[in-house]
Amino acid sequence: MPELYESTAAELSTLLASGQTSAKEIMAAYLSRIEQVDGNVRAFNSYDHDDALRQADASDTRRREERAMGPLDGIPVALKDVIAVKDQPLTASSKMLKDFVSPYDSHVTELLKRQGAVLFGRLNLDEFAMGSSTENSGFQRTCNPWDLERIPGGSSGGSAAAIAACEAPLTLGSDTGGSIRQPAALCGVVGMKPTYGLVSRYGLIAFASSLDQIGPFAQTVEDAAILLQGIVGHDRRDSTSIKMAVPDYRAALKTDKKWRLGVPKEYFGEGLDAEVRAAVEAAIKTYEGLGHEIVEVSLPTTDLAVPVYYILAPAEASSNLSRYDGIRYGHRSSNAADAIDVYYKSRAEGFGPEVKRRIILGSYVLSSGYYDAYYLKAQKARTIIRNDFNSAFEQCDALLTPTAPTAAFKAGEKTNDPLSMYLSDIFTINVNLAGLPGVSVPCGFTSTGLPIGLQIIGKAFEEAEMLAIAHAYEQQHDWGKQRPSL
């Protein structure tokens, strides 16, 4: 019998429903697992042991009184430290918000509370979600559970590592340019970014508002579907939130439909690691073997991803991060002579190097005389990128690509070379620019035992189909069932 903490959320849900375990037992199992391994993994910025058990206890009471609220009731869910939970810390892994306690709930946590999920623990990230390695955290470096010397990916590195290390059955992350999919790939777990507008951003600390989405991490596609189901829905507090009938994502996984799957040739060019290429090509073969049609498609604007993204995202970020000024909340410098000085010094002391770099870049491209040359041009290029995807989707139901060009790299390897760090997002960024859904599923290991991810890009708001495609592949292999030894 495997340990409780190794179970999937679906399994835990079944155990709870049949009375074979309690929410408190489950929570206690994860808490002791965290105590055992998180000293090495360092996925969590903080968690409230007693509050977690109290929430679990309340769930057990509901279940005894036959008031249980669905598949998530009593299931622990840990959150990237950019998602607001009332009365819990909310730091964005930044010294700027080191002592900030959220006075309100995000839309997703309101929904999850209503479904009885146990919201515990704040997961580490690159400060303000800016990074691809979680090395930019203002507090600690999260380690890849498969090789502690290596990075877990980012920015949702804590969310991915916590799943890989069995410290939580489900976690939430956020994805602006690949921040869910890339760490999922590098940690060997499932991570998905929904279509822009499917999940409310109310209560998600903004990085780049036109690109950010909250999404689930899990061991399996089925678990990801369960958590996705729990967080979707229209929210009148987010003007970009879509009103639509929500399908049953979990039920949609079981289908014998045959799909046309597109393989964009531009994703297999220069810069793609040979082992990653081999694993992804093998995954494509698996689909072919299952009777799905594989078609080659072209996304000629693929190499525009980095330039467009690194104009638009820092521009939006430079404005989004203006509110961190040490006036109403957050770090206030004790050396400031006057109000204006509070800004200069608090921000200099509170923000880390990557955040400063992007604020500078973003302020520059928006500044007078450069707006048309950079921001407007990037917005126009974004239109071309969207059109490219639209054309590709005329020929297929979904796209198959590598999630990241390489497996996890060593900590410190790219910290002094921002451009090469930025280029590690090359396969994920365009999906955000086009607003599409994407999921990364484990598709193998390198010779040194590092996980590799397959990215499936779906049509807008076709998450059900995209997850079914991911699920079909997952059933053929046990890549996702393997666990690192910690």
């Binding site: 822009y196 400063k356 500078i360 302020s363 520059y364 126009k380 974004r382």
Partner: protein, 95 residues
């Protein structure tokens, strides 16, 4: 376009960010490199292309004008570094 020289002082002032000389040097160099990479966009023919501000074009997202409960004063000021008389205290504003 040649833009390896960016006016780092001006940009830092816009962003209200004190930078050390060391930081200024590092960021200038790194941003110059990043901006050069962005020159790829100059090769594009973007005439007549509409800019995309939102990935899905919604319009008229308007909410009814109704009052909903807000913060208590305590909630509003809970995270304030300094407060007095139910207000946020800031050092003297010098123009």
């Amino acid at each position: 376009m040649a833009h390896t020289e960016i006016d780092i002082d001006k940009v830092a002032r816009l962003a209200r960010l004190d930078l050390s000389d060391e930081e200024k040097r590092t960021y200038s160099a790194q941003l110059g490199q990043v901006l050069e990479h962005m020159d790829k966009l100059n090769a594009l023919d973007l005439d007549g292309v509409e800019p995309t501000a939102h990935s899905f074009p919604l319009s008229n997202v308007l909410d009814e004008d109704e009052e909903q409960p807000g913060f208590t004063v305590e909630e509003a000021l809970r995270n304030a570094p300094k407060a007095r008389d139910n207000q946020v205290v800031v050092p003297k504003v010098v123009e």
